[in-house]
């Protein structure tokens, strides 16, 4: 079972792309800065959108390791 620290690190790795995407979006729309709460929610949603990408690559990698 993963420890709390490992879980936190995995969560960090999964959430970071969402924050990257939101920051890039904000830099392209500088006249419409979101609140910190809105930015966090947007990042979480975008990170969730990327979960299938992680799963697809993880699944492909595990399939390759098993063969």
């Amino acid at each position: 079972m993963p420890t709390t620290l490992e879980s936190a690190l995995v969560l960090l790795v999964l959430l970071a792309p969402g924050f990257i995407a939101v920051r890039i979006k904000n830099s392209l729309l500088p006249y419409r800065p979101p609140s910190a709460f809105q930015e966090t929610v947007e990042a979480a949603i975008l990170s969730a959108l990327l979960l299938p990408v992680w799963l697809v690559f993880g699944w492909r990698s595990s399939m390759r390791d098993n063969t």
């Binding site: 790795v13 890039i24 392209l28 419409r32 690559f57 993880g58």
Partner: protein
């Protein structure tokens, strides 16, 4: 993914595919997602369809706000924005943001026409002619604005 069940050190080459996936998501997919999100937020594809649907159901006189009705036209009007204290700014509306979050008309001068973008004092006298100096004046319609006169 990589799973080590022994205490033997991992072969460094096995880490490359994982690093590649992380780099792909962090460096390529995330920025693309941000750009896509910015495009969607700047030009909401659902806005036109929703507007058509709502206006079709409620009639052509239904707009989200009076401001939409006033500025949603091809020929932008000449306006005088009167501020608290009586001073005013007068010019042609170039853009009028239709976002509900902010009312931000951009006033511009009429090309070749002097005193077409001006500031007026509380007596209606010319205070400052911005025509030759400024490309436009961006105003946030808020508590400092008493009313907007529209001259069509």
């Amino acid at each position: 993914m990589i799973a080590s069940t022994t205490l033997a050190p991992l072969d460094i080459w096995t880490l490359f595919p994982v690093a590649g996936v992380i780099a792909l998501i962090y460096v390529v997919i995330s920025p693309l997602l941000g750009v896509l999100y910015a495009l969607i937020q700047a030009n909401p594809p659902y806005r036109a369809a929703t507007s058509e649907l709502v206006r079709g159901r409620l009639g052509v006189h239904a707009h989200p706000e009076v401001r939409d009705r006033a500025f949603n036209r091809d020929v932008q009007p000449w306006v005088r924005i009167v501020l608290k204290g009586g001073s005013a700014i007068q010019g042609i509306v170039r853009f009028a943001g239709l976002s509900l979050a902010g009312r931000q008309p951009l006033l511009v001068p009429l090309p070749g026409v002097p005193e077409s973008l001006i500031r007026l004092d509380s007596d209606g006298q010319l205070l400052d002619d911005l025509t030759s100096r400024a490309e436009g004046v961006w105003i946030e319609i808020g508590a400092e604005v008493l009313f907007v006169e529209i001259f069509g």
